[in-house]
Amino acid sequence: MNRRASRVCHASGMSARLWIIGLLPVCAAAEGHGPAFGLATPTLGRGQWSSDTLVMALGTDAGTSLMTREWVGYGLTEDLQATLSFPLSSTIDRQMHPPRTRFGAMMGAFGDVEASLLWRFQRVAPDVGARLESTLMVGGSIPTELRRRGVRVGPGVNVAAVTGYASRTVYGWVGAGWQRYAERDGDRLGDLPYVSAVFGWRPPLFQHDYPRPDWRVFAESIAEFPRADRRGGITRPDDGGTRILLGPSLLGLYGQWGVEAGVLFPVRQEMRGTQPEERFRAKAVFTWWF
């Protein structure tokens, strides 16, 4: 078995174990009103759970990768939420130089198990169905693989802040975050600063009352500014850059179930060196509240 095959088999075994963990009755009640890719404020009340199962395709010049991930959230209080997300399976490690990104702004990066605390430090309800709120997100991650992009990968931290407005007709969030990895044996993945903006709308056709299905559409944009990786104590000169993506997503909610799908396309890419150009990101999310 060659080295790559060995790594894939290792990943598959890990995924199988994580699938089993994912099937345990760890309960769920999800992000609720939010976008597929961008940062949003959480919605879980005290004692509520949510589970999101995600499938994401990432297309680049070098090929298309498919990844799945599980995200579990729990409302410690109405303003403090704990989350855990972990990879289920991924083919992205088959790419020589996969893009640096998170699975979604609220998720960990590919290959990371990430635990986060989300603190809604500001909340105002100005009217029926409306709220203006801000959240701070702090997370820690551990990698499930030894190397990523040929670099030994260490634990990481992610800090993000988001503020936004949600109502029965329009939604909007803007947020920014910074992910940083620890050094491991002279190697270190470059930092990943990112910014996201989301605008949502619930057309009159979809403005039914609960418990009828609730649909909304979003326009989402993410800008990522990955910094260069360091290998053997030396920073790669042809790494890092800027990438801005934009695209639509659709969220459907019915009782304790939610489905969401979205796609992002790059509108600007300035990546250094010979890094493959990204073509698209597509994502589908299945959510369960209980």
């Binding site: 609720g32 509520q48 109405e78 303003d79 309800a125 029926v128 169905g129 409306a130 709220r131």
Partner: protein, 170 residues
């Protein structure tokens, strides 16, 4: 050892019937219906969580939640001991803001602290007159204390024990 036989008084069955009759007549007074206005609830999962949380409260028979009107309506079992504070606690723990509530409450009229009051199994409400349309209030003032009444009224967001009376039925 032989058990001592139990002898009932010949009038015991009659006592049981009387206890049941008086017990029913004096059944605990309580909130019967509550319409709680909720602000900040924007999504179906929010409504689902709210409905589920309220349904778990003791004495709740049925809950309907409206996102578009921004309220939850609770139908409560007779004899429940549920308070409006407990309902509002569930709303607030859901991450939302509880505003005014309209209640249908059954209780015993009494006077205390310079107010007409309505005592239920779970709470003691101060009754206040409405700003307009004093018909219900006049009817209430003509009622003797100790009478059992059903009152429809409103409670502001910042008070769970002061009812502005809108209607009264004996």
């Amino acid at each position: 050892m032989k058990n001592k036989p139990v002898h009932f008084h010949p009038r015991f069955p009659l006592l049981i019937v009387l206890m049941l009759l008086f017990g029913a007549a004096g059944s605990p007074a309580a909130l019967l219906e509550v319409e709680q206005v909720i602000w900040g609830m924007d999504c179906a999962p929010c409504a689902y969580g709210m409905q589920r949380g309220l349904e778990k409260l003791p004495g709740v028979e049925k809950v309907t939640v409206s996102l578009n009107r921004g309220n939850a309506t609770l139908m409560l079992a007779r004899g429940n001991k549920l308070s409006l504070s407990a309902i509002r606690r569930v709303v607030n723990e859901g991450g939302f803001t509880s505003k005014e509530a309209t209640v249908l409450v059954e209780g015993t009229l009494h006077a205390g602290g310079g107010h007409l009051r309505l005592r239920t199994e779970g709470a003691d409400y101060a009754l206040t007159p409405p700003a307009a349309d004093p018909v219900a209030w006049n009817k209430l003032r003509q009622t003797e204390t100790g009478a059992k009444l059903t009152i429809r009224g409103r409670l502001p967001a910042d008070s769970a024990n002061e009812i502005t009376v809108e209607d009264v039925a004996p």
